[in-house]
Symmetry: C3
Subunit: 396 residues, 3 copies
C-alpha cells in the first residue's frame, strides 16, 4: 500500500497543471492532466486515511461555506474535506448575515476572507446565476489579494452550480476508475445518462450536465436520453459533443431509456427539470411570485406523470451489457415503494447497487480536499510526500 | 497529582471491558467493570486538563451531532468532549438536510460518516423511538464498515433517549464518587429519586430512569417516589429492582416525598411526565395534532397542579440524614420564585447546593470523552499514558 | 520583517498592563499602555500570518459566541481570531438553547464554560443592558473559578454592546496607526465623527461612542457632529471630553457636517439612532410591542428624512484637509445609488476609499485575538517569542 502511495505521488508530479492559478469551476475548463492530478491527489488522501496518516496541511485557517440550498451530503463532504486538511468551517448564513441587506458581493467576499483558505459555494437555484456568482466572488478575491487586503488567495470550490457539479462528477469518475481498475479502462465503455421519473420537481440540471461534460473527456461512449422537452442547457450539450470528438469517444442522444440502456456498461438514471422550466422558475423566484411557482410546479408534476415509464426496473437492467451494468446515482434516489410510491428506480435494483452507490459517494470528501490542495500548492506532490515522510498518526 | 493520574491509568488497565466492541446506549447493558473504566477514564481526562496536559488523540476527524430537542448543557458538553479529543463538530440539522425528504436512516448514517469518528444523538421526544433509532444507526454503521464503505466505526454516543440518559447518570455517579470519596463509599447510602412539581409538562423520563437504573448497580439504597399516575416505564423499574438485588443494595418505591427523603443521604427531586402521557404525546406528535397536544398539555398541567406539595423545601430537607442530604439536579431546576412562581425546589435550598450542582454538571464533558475513548480504543490506558508521557501543554 | 516582529515583542514586554486580571469591556477602562499592548500584539499576530508562522497557543479549547443580533463581519472576525489561536467555536444560540426558558445568567455562564477559554458577546439591542449583561457574565465566571467549578477563567470579549464597540474602535485605531505611520503621528490630527443620513433606523450608538471614547485618548482633535436630537449617551460624551483634556487633544461638538469636515484629516460619516429613541425602542422591545416598534420606526424614518443633506459627497470631501481626508467606515456603508437610493456616502467617494475601508476592517480578527491573549497571559510577549522561535508553518 505504502508503495502505491509513493507511485501515485510520483505520477502527480509528472502531470502538468495550472490549477494553482485558477478556480476549478467547470470540469471542461481543466485539461485532462489537471483532472488526473485531482483524481490522484484524492486517491493519495484516501489511502493515507486508510493507513492512519494525518493529512493536516494547515495549522489553522477557516474554510467558509455558503449553501443556498438544503444539503446533507455536500455539507458533510465539504466539512470532511476541510477538516482533513486542518481547516475549521465557518458558515456564511445569509439569513443571519447582512448580505441580505444589500451588501455587494465584492465587499462580502473580502470581509469573510481575511483568514480564509477556502470558500465552498453551492448555488444551483437560479439558472444563469450560480456559476456567474462564483466567478464574481473569485474576481473580488483576486482583487483583494492584488490590493494587499488579503494575505493569500482562498481556494474557491464549486459545490454545485446551475451549470456543473464538478465535485459530484469527479467523485463519480474516481469511483469508475476504482471500479473498472483505471482511467484507461473507461475508453469505449458505454455510459447511459438518462432522465427518470420522480414525483418531485425542480431538481437541478447540474448532475446530468456534469456527467456528460466530464465522461466525454475520457473516450467513453456517452449516451444521453430524456423525454421530449426535458432538455439540458444547449451549450453544455455542445460542450459534451466537442469533448467526445477530441477524446476519441462518442456522444449520442436517444429518445428512450430502453435505447440508452441497450448494451450500456454503466447507467445513471436520474430525474431533472427541463432547462426551460428552470429558466421560468428562476424568473418566478426572483419575482418572489409564490402563486406562479405553485402553478409551475403543478404543471411540471403533471408533465412528469406522463413519463412514469422512465423507470429503472430489473426488466430495464436486462437490456444492459450482460444485464449487469453498473448503476450509479448521486443520492438520494427516489426509490419506488421506499422513498415514494413511484420513482426513479425499482427497490430490488437499488438494493443490489446500494453499497456501490455508497462507495461512489465516499469519494467526494477526498475530491474536494484534492481540489483545494491543487489550488493552494503548485506542487501538491511535494506536500503529500512530506506528510508521508512525517507519518504522523491521524488517530493515536 | 501526577502520581494519582498514574495510579488511575494502572487501574483502568486492570478493568475488563468490551466497550471497544459495543455502543454505550444503556448503562444496564454495561458490566460494573466497564462502568468503572469510563469513570476512571473521565477522572484522568479531567485531571489532565487541570494539569494543562493536552488530551488530543485525533489529529483530525469529525464528530457529528444530531439534536432532536433544544439543549444548552448537552450541546456544550458534547462540544467540549469532542474538542478535548481533537475532533471537530458537524451538526446534522434535519431542518437543513434532506433527511426530512424520505431518506433512510441507513443511507444517512453512512453518508455522514465517511470521515466521522463519533456521532452523538439526542432523541428523547418519542417514547419507544429514541433508543431504537440509535440502534438502527449503529447497525447501519456496522454494515458500512463491513462492506468497506467506512474506513472505521464511529463511536455512537447516547446524549439522551426515551429510556436512559447515560451521560447524565454517569456524570452524576462521577460526582457522587468525588463527593463521597470513592465508589465503595456509596454502598448503603440512601438516594431518593423523587418527582417534584413543575409548572411545565412533557419533561422526559430519561433522568429518573437513568438514575434508578444506574445507582442500583453500586449497592445503594435507591428509593423512588412519585404521585399516583406518574409512573416510569415499567421495564426500567424492573431493571432497577433486579440491579439492586445483584449489587446488594435495595430498590424501594414509596408514595410521598416525605417518606423518600426520610434519612436520605442524597435527594434528587425532579419533575417528569407520566410515561402513559409520554405515550399519548408521542402519538399526537407523530400525527402532527396540534390541538390534541394543546389539550393534553392543559390536562397534564391541571394534574400536576394537584401535587404542588411535592416541593423540595427546607422543611423537607430536615427529614434527610442529619438534615444535610446532598441535593442533586441535572439542571436547569425550576426554582420557586426564581425561574417560576412555584416549582421543584425552594430558593434557599437550591442556593445552598448551587455550587455542588455546577460541579455535578462539570463531569459531563469528561464522561462523554471517556465513552468515546473506550469505544475507539481497546486499551485507552495505553493512550492516556502516551499523552501523559508526551506532556504536551494544552495552553502554551 | 522578522526584525520588526522582534522589536514589537520587546516593546510589548515593556508596557505595563493589568489586562490579565480584567475584562476589556470599555476602551476607557484601560490605560494607554494597555491599549498599546493590544495594538502591538495584534501587529505581531498579523505579521506572523503574513510570514506563515502559526500562532496556535491552544492545543484545544472552546470559544463561545453569543450574538443577539445579525452579523457577518463580527462573526467572521471572531471566528478568525479564535481559530488563529487554536480554539474551536461553539455558538450559544438562544433560540436553540434553554436560556429562553428562565435560566439564570449565572448558571448558563458556568454551564458553557467548563472547557471554554473565551466568550465573545454581541449584545447591542437594549440600551442599558448589553454592557451590564457582560459584567454579570464576568462575575459569574469569576465566581465559578473561585468555587472550583471552572478550571480557568475564560476571556470575555465585548463584540459590541450598547455603550462601546471596542473591537471596532481598536481595529480602527490600528488602521490609523498603519496608515499614518505610528500612534504619535495621530497627535493633533482632526477626526470628524459625524452622523450621516440613512434610510434605515435603529443603528446602534456603539460605533460613534467607541470612536469618540477612544480617539480622544491619543491627542487627536475629535469633532462630533449630528443633527439636533441625534444625541449620543451623555455620559460617554462626558468621557470623551475628559479623555481629550488628559491626552492633550480636544473634543468639539458642532452642528453641521460641513463644519466638522472643515480641515479634517479623517472623516467617519455614519448613521445612528438618537439615544432617546434607542431608549424608547428598548422599552418597546422588552414589551414585545410590535405596533409600537413600527410606529417608532416610521417616526424616525420621517425624522431622518429631514437630514438627507448629511451626505458625504465629493463636494463635502473638498472641505477636508487638502480635499484628501481619509474616509473611514465600519461597513457596510449605505452607498447612494448602490445599496440604497440616498444614503451616507456618494458612490464615487466610497469607491475611492473602498480598499482603505477593507484594510481598516482587516485588523479586527487580530485585535480580538490580541485581546484574548492579553487576558489569558500576563506576559503575551513571552508566548509570541516562543511562537516565533518555534517557527511552525501555518500552511505547509
Amino acid at each position: 500500500m505504502m508503495k502505491s502511495i509513493n507511485e501515485l505521488i510520483k505520477e502527480i508530479n509528472e502531470l502538468k497543471s495550472d490549477l494553482h492559478d485558477k478556480d476549478f469551476l467547470l470540469t471542461w475548463e481543466q485539461t485532462p492532466e489537471e483532472l488526473e492530478r485531482v483524481l490522484k491527489t484524492a486517491q493519495v488522501l484516501k489511502a493515507m486515511r486508510q493507513e492512519n496518516i494525518a493529512t493536516n496541511v494547515f495549522k489553522n485557517g477557516l474554510a467558509v461555506s455558503l449553501f443556498r440550498d438544503n444539503s446533507t451530503r455536500t455539507r458533510f463532504s465539504y466539512a470532511s474535506a476541510i477538516n482533513m486538511l486542518g481547516l475549521a468551517q465557518q458558515d456564511l448564513d445569509e439569513g443571519k448575515s447582512q448580505i441580505a441587506h444589500g451588501e455587494t458581493v465584492r465587499e462580502t467576499a473580502n470581509m469573510i476572507s481575511f483568514c480564509a483558505d477556502a470558500i465552498g459555494i453551492r448555488d444551483d437555484m437560479y439558472l444563469g446565476a450560480g456559476n456567474a456568482y462564483m466567478r464574481e466572488v473569485g474576481e473580488a478575491l483576486d482583487d483583494g489579494v492584488k490590493e494587499g487586503v488579503l494575505p493569500h488567495r482562498p481556494a474557491l470550490v464549486n459545490l454545485q452550480c446551475d451549470i456543473d457539479h464538478p465535485t459530484q462528477s469527479m467523485a463519480d469518475l474516481a469511483w469508475l476508475e476504482e471500479h473498472f481498475g483505471g482511467l484507461d479502462k473507461l475508453k469505449g465503455k458505454k455510459i447511459a445518462m438518462t432522465w427518470a421519473y420522480s414525483p418531485s420537481y425542480g431538481k437541478p440540471l447540474s448532475v446530468p450536465q456534469g456527467i456528460i461534460g466530464l465522461m466525454t473527456r475520457f473516450g467513453m461512449d456517452v449516451t444521453l436520453a430524456h423525454p421530449e422537452g426535458y432538455d439540458l442547457i444547449p451549450e453544455v450539450v455542445e460542450e459534451a459533443r466537442a469533448n467526445a470528438k477530441l477524446s476519441g469517444g462518442s456522444f449520442t442522444q436517444v429518445e428512450s431509456m430502453e435505447e440508452a440502456f441497450k448494451d450500456a456498461d454503466i447507467v445513471y438514471p436520474k430525474s431533472w427539470a427541463p432547462y426551460q422550466v428552470m429558466g421560468r422558475r428562476t424568473e418566478l423566484l426572483r419575482a418572489n411570485d409564490h402563486d406562479g411557482l405553485k402553478a409551475l410546479e403543478q404543471e411540471c408534476l403533471a408533465q412528469n406523470a406522463n413519463h412514469k415509464n422512465w423507470h429503472c426496473t430489473e426488466e430495464m437492467m436486462k437490456l444492459t451489457k450482460d444485464g449487469e451494468a453498473l448503476y450509479m446515482h448521486c443520492l438520494p434516489a427516489d426509490i419506488t415503494g421506499v422513498s415514494c410510491e413511484e420513482g426513479e428506480v425499482e427497490e430490488s435494483v437499488f438494493e443490489k447497487y446500494r453499497i456501490p452507490t455508497y462507495k461512489e459517494a465516499s469519494w467526494k470528501p477526498y475530491i474536494i480536499a484534492a481540489m483545494i490542495m491543487n489550488r493552494k500548492y503548485q506542487n501538491p506532490a511535494d506536500i503529500l510526500q512530506e506528510l508521508l515522510d512525517e507519518g504522523q498518526k491521524r488517530v493515536k
